[in-house]
């Protein structure tokens, strides 16, 4: 057991020495893996950001219910009473037509136009905030609201939220496909790196076999090397995306300030970053495993 642990330590030291021994080619391998991972990682991070933004906007989906302009005060009160009885609603707000007009007068660009009006064309309205983002619930409530007497128009903002979410789903599938393809590229890159290493260490492997080294003793440093390439490549991808986001945020900040928003691109959560590095380590190990099982048997002492 102690000897086994000792050998693992030796393998790690050896892996570090091999990486440091050929700094340029190590750097290239790490960069190839890093770039391959940075593309889907960047896409994924952007999606996460957009998702967060959309969810923030549509935290409380609202449905506006516009009364007919001919509706009497009692009609309006009646609708209000029935709305209160409705389930699945978080809050209810009544916007009388006078208030709506006053609000419009304060809106820059509309004030002049409103001033030319002889009478108020705006209807009374209820704004219903839904209790959940469940699209089925929204559709059902919308249906009920349309059936209310003296209601001319029902407008839900769930529609565009759903459209954006559908787009995000398309994006997510695209990123997944990209990630799957580039994972193959990562495995292939480690496969080839390890193959070259096995070839250059041919005589060492042969001697090790002659003096009684087990296959696992010989393979282990290659597995470590593959996993190390994965860890370094994954970290390089994180660094690239982080750098790109930092750069983009300079522009995003200006853009957001024009919209009086303090929106910023947010980098991955720590847990996501750690699982990315772990995932890439596993892929590197897999590449090394495939390469070793393919090439090591070909080296037998003669």
């Amino acid at each position: 057991m102690k000897a086994w642990l000792r050998h693992h330590r030796q393998s790690l030291v050896q892996t570090a020495a091999r990486l440091a021994g050929a700094p340029f080619s190590s750097l290239l391998s790490v960069l190839v893996i890093g770039i391959a991972l940075a593309l889907p990682l960047g896409g994924y991070s952007l999606l996460v950001n957009m998702q967060g933004y959309v969810e923030g906007l549509a935290a409380d989906p609202e449905i506006s219910v516009f009364m007919s302009s001919e509706a009497s005060k009692s009609d309006v009160a009646e609708v209000g009473r029935r709305l209160k009885e409705l389930g699945g609603i978080k809050s209810l707000r009544f916007v009388p037509r006078d208030v709506a007009l006053a609000g419009l007068k304060k809106t820059p660009g509309f004030a002049d136009a409103v001033a030319t009006l002889k009478n108020n064309p705006l209807p009374d309205a209820y704004i219903v905030a839904l209790a959940s983002r469940d699209p089925d619930l929204a559709a059902r409530i919308e249906e009920t609201l349309r059936a209310l007497p003296r209601v001319t128009h029902v407008q839900s903002d769930m529609g565009w939220v759903q459209r954006v979410e559908a787009w995000l789903r398309v994006g997510r599938t695209g990123v997944m496909l990209l990630a799957a393809m580039l994972s193959f590229a990562l495995v292939a890159a480690t496969f080839n790196t390890i193959r070259l290493q096995i070839l250059t260490q041919r005589s060492e492997i042969e001697v090790a076999k002659l003096i009684g080294a087990t296959d696992s003793f010989i393979c282990r440093p290659f597995f470590y090397f593959g996993a190390a390439l994965g860890v370094l490549g994954g970290s390089a991808a994180l660094a690239m995306v982080w750098g790109a986001f930092a750069l983009l945020n300079l522009d995003v900040a200006k853009l957001a300030s024009l919209y009086t928003s303090d929106f910023r691109l947010r980098f991955l959560e720590a847990a996501d970053a750690v699982s990315l590095v772990a995932f890439s380590a596993v892929l590197g190990w897999l590449g090394a495993f495939l390469s070793v099982s393919r090439h090591l048997a070909q080296i037998e002492p003669r």
Partner: protein
């Protein structure tokens, strides 16, 4: 006494049909010094390779320490080899590391603690007279020194059997004599010694047991015991 190495009706045919050994049977007792002689192509190297599990017998049985090498699982071969010290004509040294690290390799393979391993590696280097060259790269050593380094690597794990394939073939007479005297000293502490050679001078001087091969068969020149 039970033989440490035993061949019974061993034949080895290489792909392509060349038969290197034909129906060879012999027993080697623990601690014996055996020289395998014969013309080149007589099957000397093949015999040694069968013992180390580098080649497998086509028919017959090769026993080492009571284990049938020809039927051994590949996973068991490393443990067989840890009991053997192998010395090659072409040394098979690693030129990307120092003399010291070359000797350390077998100890790392068997998982010795580093301090103990370093001590044993230095002891082995001392035995072959290379202690003052431990930091050198093997490429800087002379042919005779490289062969001595190969011996140090073979004995550092204290094997019970030492096997050398033409260890002196490329050396001049004086170097060859030093190498052979080293082998003799290991034999004297009880190591079973198998040397393939066609160096007649050494054989006459050391009077070992002789196994003579002729076209893959044991020849009548062989002796069952060392000469008195």
């Amino acid at each position: 006494m039970q033989p440490i190495i035993s061949f019974s009706h061993v034949s080895k045919r290489y792909p392509g049909g060349f038969e290197a050994l034909h129906e060879v049977s012999l027993d080697i007792a623990p601690g014996q010094m055996v020289f395998i002689t014969g013309h080149s192509g007589a099957g000397k190297s093949t015999m040694l390779k069968l013992i180390a599990g580098i080649e497998r017998a086509t028919s017959g049985m090769v026993l080492v320490n009571g284990q049938n090498v020809s039927a051994m699982k590949p996973a068991a071969i490393p443990y067989l080899r840890r009991n053997l010290g192998l010395v090659f004509q072409d040394q098979k040294l690693l030129y990307d590391r120092s003399v010291f690290d070359n000797v350390m390799l077998p100890l790392l393979v068997t998982g010795q603690p580093h301090r103990e391993a370093a001590r044993r590696a230095r002891a082995a280097l001392d035995k072959v007279g290379l202690l003052d060259r431990e930091k050198a790269n093997p490429i800087a050593l002379s042919g005779g020194e490289q062969q001595r380094l190969c011996i140090a690597r073979a004995v550092v794990n204290r094997p019970s059997i030492l096997i050398a394939d033409e260890p002196t073939a490329s050396l001049d007479v004086d170097y060859a004599r030093t190498i052979m005297e080293m082998f003799l000293s290991f034999h004297q502490v009880g190591v079973t010694l198998l040397v393939a050679t066609h160096d007649q001078g050494t054989i006459e001087r050391m009077q070992p047991r002789r196994v003579a091969l002729d076209h893959g068969k044991l020849s009548p020149d062989s002796t069952a015991e060392a000469s008195p």
